[in-house]
């Protein structure tokens, strides 16, 4: 990593601010923010359905949530490309578009929010909700005032992990995005390309940025964990 600093600050800056690097970083950042937001909603909804709902096959669904952790990313990318690519059996072709990048990232980040929210929801005492409901609160008000504040730290740390994962993701994106510079090339694919063409300075510069983003996210999660459990050691 120190390679990035070898040419001094100015060569680092030149490498990071080259139009292609900026485009790749911008794409990674915007798509990852989007992925984080979508996961906050869908992840919480899935966790809710797994904990509070009862239906046949629920435990199977519960096991399947971890599939993106178990499935190699390159296979994840290939599966999406097969269903939503040029030879799609359902007639949807998003290959080599930004939508494809978004879908690949949604696939690999799916478990994060579900798996952080689920245990908190399980532990959550339903008496508070019943009390609120008996005092005349509608079900949305109960969710917003009682459930949501309790889940928020878990949602945030799940979202942060999903964001960190999304911004550095490589395997699942590499086949389906087509890696078109300025269009569908994400940061890690940009780095990979620069390594292949022996441009260590550019690769190292963007790597350092990604490294700092990851570290920042991890420290934020650590602080969040500390904050959420601040009353536990009373």
């Amino acid at each position: 990593m120190w390679q990035a600093g070898q040419g001094g600050w100015s060569s680092f800056w030149d490498a990071v601010s080259s139009p292609e690097a900026v485009a790749a970083l911008k794409l990674s950042l915007t798509v990852s923010v989007l992925v984080a937001l979508i996961n906050a909603v869908t992840g919480t909804a899935i966790a809710w359905v797994l904990v509070r709902d009862r239906f046949r096959g629920q435990s199977l669904v519960n096991s399947v949530i971890d599939l993106p952790f178990a499935l190699p990313t390159i296979v994840a990318g290939l599966t999406l490309l097969t269903l939503y690519g040029p030879n799609s059996p359902v007639g949807i072709d998003v290959a080599f578009t930004r939508t494809a990048v978004l879908m690949a990232l949604l696939f690999v980040t799916l478990p994060f929010v579900v798996r952080t929210v689920q245990p908190v929801l399980l532990e959550l005492d339903q008496e508070m909700e019943q009390a609120a409901a008996s005092l005349g609160a509608g079900s949305f008000a109960v969710f917003r005032r009682i459930v949501f504040p309790n889940l928020l730290p878990a949602i945030l740390s799940g979202v942060a992990m999903a964001f960190a994962r999304a911004i550095g993701e490589f395997g699942s994106v590499v086949l389906i995005s087509g890696n078109l510079p300025f269009k569908t090339e994400v940061a890690s694919v940009f780095i990979f390309g620069r390594i292949e063409s022996n441009d260590s300075v550019a690769a190292a510069a963007v790597s350092v940025l990604l490294l700092f983003i990851s570290l920042g996210v991890l420290l934020a999660i650590g602080a969040l964990r500390h904050y959420a459990t601040r009353f536990d050691h009373a």
Binding site: V64, L83, S207
Partner: protein, 263 residues
């Protein structure tokens, strides 16, 4: 009614993003029957890639298991300055792009790397060879055992360990008789996750291996190479092998999890 709405939304999302794509890959692999797929995964290159992947996992998983347990003990049982920082940094492989991981190994051990120059001069090849791939696999699968064991260690507390040592048992005896039995399910769960990650690693290994067919090509890299070489059956068939390994992982995770919860 709203309950069904939410259920439909959550399950529908799972089907569109997760289940339908994975189902299609099985369909595509066996579209022309079982034997073309079988022949595609038993070519010498595919077999070599498969064995190499297994070999990498066999080296990385035991090392990470031992390291993970030691690290978890350090984080939970010892107070030292910076323990919070160490705790956060252990997660780094989860958050860091695998390409960046591979690239940093390249910068350290490559031809122009810090150690690489000396290593190559003395006849050791790390990058584009087995040692580099082992390092990459170890790096990316590092956090899982630690992550699973830390909360369990916190929960069991130190009472029993303290009792054992007042009764005269040595540190190693206490660990083997008291601590290890208490954390064994968590270790097992962590090992399953570590194995899955090691078998499926792509980005970091892709950078450090050089992707030489029949030499440093792992099964995941073989999938990409086959797809890009228009060998679709080969790519799908190898993917099915990896997907089956993933399903086996899920089954093991499900089997290990309830035991851990009812402990």
């Amino acid at each position: 009614m709203r309950r069904y709405g939410l259920r439909t939304f959550a399950l529908g999302y799972l089907v569109v993003i997760l289940l339908a794509p994975v189902a299609v890959i099985f369909y595509r692999a066996f579209e022309h029957g079982f034997w073309p797929a079988w022949h595609a995964v038993t070519t010498p290159d595919a077999k070599h890639a498969f064995l190499l992947t297994i070999e990498l996992a066999l080296i990385a998983v035991p090392l990470n298991t031992v390291f993970g347990v030691i690290m978890a003990l350090l984080i939970v049982r010892h107070r030292f300055p910076g323990v919070g920082f160490v705790n956060a940094v252990v997660d780094l492989p989860l958050a860091l792009s695998p390409v960046v991981v591979g690239f940093s190994l390249l910068l350290l051990y490559g031809r122009q790397g810090w150690f690489g120059h000396w290593l190559i001069a003395h006849g050791y090849r790390v990058v584009f060879a087995m040692p580099g791939m082992v390092l990459a696999t170890i790096f990316v699968s590092l956090p899982f055992v630690v992550r699973e064991v830390v909360p369990v260690l916190r929960e069991i507390g130190t009472d029993q360990e303290a009792a054992a040592s007042t009764l005269g048992s040595s540190g190693w005896q206490t660990f083997r008789r008291i601590t290890l039995p208490a954390i064994r399910w968590a270790v097992g769960y962590g090992v399953v996750l570590t194995t899955a990650r090691a078998l499926g690693e792509f980005g970091a290994v892709s950078v450090v291996s050089g992707r030489i067919v029949g030499q440093t090509e792992t099964l995941t890299i073989h999938v990409q190479a086959a797809y890009e070489g228009f060998d679709l059956v080969g790519a799908y068939a190898a993917s099915v092998v990896l997907a089956l390994l993933a399903v086996a992982t899920l089954v093991l995770m499900t089997l290990l999890k309830p035991k851990e919860e009812t402990r």
